[in-house]
């Protein structure tokens, strides 16, 4: 198995674990963590597969770097919203999930 394929497999594993946890857990923080694990899997898949046979490819790496910034911004925003929701309702999960 080549390095690129190995990275891709780990990326698929992370995506799968993230999706599973995202569906199973109801608590918003756990869901956010699962979502981030899924995102990391996608990034690993993108960067890992792109270096298949030709060495590192700067274009997907730059894309992933952009993606990481967006993921950080959205995670921070989600945390702000969760804390606000917790302060308003006292719940760690959404009413649909209770």
């Amino acid at each position: 198995m080549s390095t690129a394929l190995f990275h891709a497999c780990i990326g698929i594993l992370l995506c799968t674990m993230g999706l599973f946890a995202f569906i199973v857990h109801r608590h918003l923080l756990r869901r956010l963590l699962a979502f981030n694990v899924m995102g990391s899997g996608c990034f690993l898949l993108l960067v890992g597969l792109a270096q298949d046979g030709r060495g590192p490819d700067p274009v997907p790496q730059a894309l992933v770097l952009t993606g990481i910034v967006v993921a950080v911004a959205s995670t921070a925003l989600a945390l702000v919203i969760f804390r606000r929701w917790y302060r308003v309702s006292g719940e760690g999960q959404l009413p649909e999930d209770v």
Partner: protein, 236 residues
């Protein structure tokens, strides 16, 4: 947790994994040799490091939108902020040890941040990494209960938050006014433009990350409604 939910989650996750694996196995061969293309064009870009060149020259539209996303997140966080309680800042831990450590570490953190920004031209580094380091140093200051005097006025923070996107948009639109394509910098000016944009981005990213941290509703005494707190919570 119900068995049905577990089974549904496992089915969905396994199906997803299979679909992803199929997509990886059946992926089409690359049409373009992107590393070679980047290598061939890098002389006209404003940076010598391929990733910085892609971020700020070849695909700078992505980076422009990324800065927009960060600013948008900060704006939404501002819209959701609560009235801060009066009195001393609750974030600060008033220990002399923390202050002493920070007074030792802060100059080093600023130095590393500036170096990482500068290194982005030729090796791994750049605006986001430097901004993250600066945000971490701002966070350390805040944990120690120290303030940055120049940032006490809200309008200054707002202006600096918008600076990155404003400079980037200017760098995108000005070439268009001069008759080039949007974001198409003339090769002679590319290096200057990239450096100016990177510095502005670093300031805005650092303040943006810090603002997202600062704007989270403070932990005062737990939730507002007492009656719902006593209710047992399921799930999680």
């Amino acid at each position: 947790m119900s068995r049905l939910r577990l089974a549904a989650a496992a089915t969905a996750a396994l199906g997803f994994a299979l679909a992803l694996a199929l997509a990886v196995i059946e992926r089409p061969a690359a049409v373009l040799n992107l590393p070679a293309l980047v290598e061939a064009e890098i002389a006209g870009a404003g940076a010598l490091h391929p990733i910085t060149a892609v971020l700020l020259d070849f695909r700078s539209f992505d980076t422009l939108l990324e800065v927009g996303v960060l600013l948008l997140a900060v704006i939404v966080a501002y819209a959701l902020r609560e009235a801060q309680p009066d009195g001393p800042d609750r974030m600060g831990l008033d220990t002399p040890l923390l202050r002493a450590v920070i007074s030792l570490l802060l100059p080093l953190m600023l130095l590393v941040g500036a170096y990482v920004l500068w290194a982005g031209a030729t090796r791994p580094g750049g605006a986001f990494q430097a901004g993250a380091i600066l945000a971490a140093s701002g966070l350390a200051l805040r944990l120690a209960g120290l303030r940055v005097g120049g940032l006490d006025r809200a309008w200054r923070v707002h202006a600096l938050l918008a600076l990155g996107l404003a400079v980037f948009v200017a760098a995108a639109v000005l070439p268009a006014l001069a008759g080039h394509a949007m974001l198409d910098h003339p090769a002679t000016l590319a290096k200057t433009i990239v450096i100016v944009v990177e510095i502005a981005l670093t300031v805005s990213i650092a303040l943006g990350l810090l603002a997202l941290f600062r704007l989270a509703p403070p932990q005062v005494d737990g939730p507002v409604f007492e009656d719902r707190r006593s209710k047992p919570r399921g799930g999680a």
